[in-house]
């Protein structure tokens, strides 16, 4: 049953990675910027969730607050940092983004402490169920269900609503926005807002899983998300979803095989480097890096 347990772990992690990565791939598709500071948005989401949950006693309110605060933060990053840098080579906004991430991480440490914050009440997360010998935690179920709900909603939004259709078209071909009667600048804000909401939810869920938010919470995840969007073919949401699940599963099983000579977290880095070398344009997308 060990192998099934690993599958459950892998899939639930994959769902979390997917929510984290979609924002990144959207930003890349639209602006050709590697939005490394997305990890700071993720961390902010986690902090807001914990702080509000502890203050109000309701985890739901925590998530709600995170979902309201983070899109503002994401849009501010675009407006204040990226927009003025769009005229430079793509590595310029990327370095600025790294700077912002480092800054935010230290800011979290200074304000909330090195040790981080734990949930005062988080009983729900550790409830486990047993399905024919396979152990599943309530949180793993929550991760998968949330991801399903979020991505179904996103799918409906981008196929059923006018603004959603225009948005999707714009991401895949930025010059097209005008012909849909859509303001391309609004699309950018929408992009950052939606991506940030998803990252915040992922951040809140990871916080629950660890029962802890510490300053470094977004760091490794952000790098994995970069690996995922490359694997998924840069700018492709579907590719990103698949790649997220693949990485979740590879990590889960990979630790059995190479855990003795490499950190679990380093697997994603190794995968990304190998991937960039053999296929710089990703596996699914036709778009060139």
């Amino acid at each position: 049953m060990y192998y099934f347990d690993l599958a459950v772990t892998g899939i639930s992690f994959g769902c979390m990675y997917a929510m984290m990565s979609v924002g990144l791939t959207l930003v890349y598709g639209l602006l050709r910027i590697l939005h490394v500071a997305h990890a700071a948005v993720f961390a902010l989401g986690a902090y807001v969730t914990v702080l509000v949950a502890n203050a109000t006693g309701s985890i739901a309110l925590g998530f709600l607050a995170a979902v309201i605060v983070t899109p503002l933060f994401g849009m501010a990053i675009y407006r204040l940092l990226y927009e003025p840098l769009l005229k430079y080579r793509p590595d310029v906004p990327m370095i600025a983004s790294v700077g912002l991430l480092v800054l935010m991480q230290d800011a979290f440490r200074i304000v909330f402490g090195e040790q981080g914050i734990t949930f005062q009440r988080n009983a729900f997360a550790f409830k486990t169920f047993n399905f024919a010998g396979v152990t599943v935690s309530a949180l793993q179920i929550a991760m998968v269900v949330t991801a399903l709900v979020v991505f179904t909603g996103l799918h409906l939004f981008t196929t059923r609503t006018r603004i959603g259709i225009g948005w999707r078209a714009t991401v895949s071909k930025p010059q097209i926005a005008a012909s849909f009667g859509i303001d391309p600048i609004k699309v950018r804000y929408l992009n950052f807002a939606v991506g940030s909401v998803l990252a915040a939810i992922a951040g809140g869920l990871v916080a629950e899983m660890n029962n802890l938010v510490d300053p470094g919470i977004g760091f490794v995840v952000s790098y994995k998300a970069l690996a995922i969007i490359v694997l998924g073919g840069l700018g492709s949401v579907r590719g990103t979803l698949i790649a997220s699940l693949v990485l979740g599963l590879v990590e889960a099983y990979g630790t059995i095989f190479i855990g003795s000579w490499l950190d679990r977290d380093a697997i994603a880095f190794l995968a990304l480097i190998v991937l960039l070398m053999i296929r710089p344009q990703g596996f699914t997308g036709a778009r060139a890096a």
Partner: protein, 282 residues
């Protein structure tokens, strides 16, 4: 000189070598590397093992130069494959991989690092002098390269590889050269660091340190040797001089990085140039 002053000056010398060598790769040749710490670390570990094994200073220096540049050339091949921002991502990955790998290696001391490394026998002042001499040599090399045809070609490759190729410049060869030279010097810095501390753990070579080095290059003015030297000295001294900066090091470095890119992409050098032009005009 107090022991404290000697150690600060030694660290400044090491950071100057690191920042100037990173500037050769990222400033001169336009290949953004956010993993310079890995080459620094590779040199440090190579030197530590050599010192433990043989106690020979020249051997340790050679081992560090070689290890740094071999790893650098391997990463340089990556630069032939991917666009600049993905190269930056690749180098971040190399840095994490280096740290993740060393942590699990018993023969490299794992989490505990390598301690009890034999002394060079030059004493603290001797070590400091050696470090300063190497730093001066690195600056001289950097100035020479930027004036030579190699520096000229680097600028072309950094600005537009395709256009460089139409002038007969083999971009790949130049990128490898930039990585080879820059990372060999990073390895050298690692070796000097090992001589200086006689005790290394992998945490000293992590990604955050690489970001600090990039901050020195960007704040000094990417591509300008003297600007980068000034920034490396200033940013090494800043946390020593100001308590606040020491406590909130990453906040300050990250913040400066963001502010400089956003408001003065030319860094200190660009600001000085603009002030100079303004004075001349008035």
């Amino acid at each position: 000189m107090s022991a404290y002053e000697i150690s600060i000056i030694s660290i400044i010398g090491i950071n100057v070598i690191l920042a100037v060598s990173l500037n050769m790769i990222s400033g001169f040749c336009g290949q953004i590397s956010l993993g310079h710490g890995a080459f620094f670390g590779a040199g440090a570990y190579a030197a530590a093992l050599t010192m433990v094994g043989s106690g020979s200073v020249p051997l340790a220096i050679m081992a560090a130069l070689l290890t740094g540049s071999l790893l650098g050339l391997a990463v340089g091949f990556a630069s032939l494959r991917v666009r600049t921002d993905f190269l930056a991502v690749t180098t971040i990955g190399v840095n994490f991989l280096f740290v993740g790998f060393v942590r699990k290696q018993a023969w490299l001391g794992g989490e505990m690092g390598i301690s009890g490394i034999p002394a060079t026998g030059f004493g603290p002042v001797g070590n400091m002098t050696m470090i300063l001499l190497f730093a001066a040599a690195t600056i001289a090399l950097s100035l020479y390269i930027s004036r030579s045809w190699m520096g000229f070609a680097f600028r072309a490759v950094g600005e537009d590889e395709g256009a460089a190729a139409t002038l007969g410049i083999n971009s790949g060869a130049y990128k490898l050269a930039a990585f080879g030279i820059g990372t060999a010097l990073a390895g050298l810095a690692g070796c000097l660091y090992t001589f200086f501390t006689q005790f290394i753990t992998v945490d000293a070579f992590d990604f955050i340190f690489s970001v600090m080095l990039m901050a020195m290059v960007v704040i000094g003015g990417i591509g300008s040797t003297w600007g980068v030297v000034v920034a490396a000295v200033g940013l090494t001294l800043l946390p020593e001089a100001i308590r606040f900066v020491n406590d909130y090091r990453l906040l300050v470095f990250g913040g400066l990085l963001v502010l400089v890119i956003r408001l003065a992409p030319g860094g200190l050098t660009g600001m000085v140039q603009r002030a100079f032009l303004a004075v001349r005009r008035s």
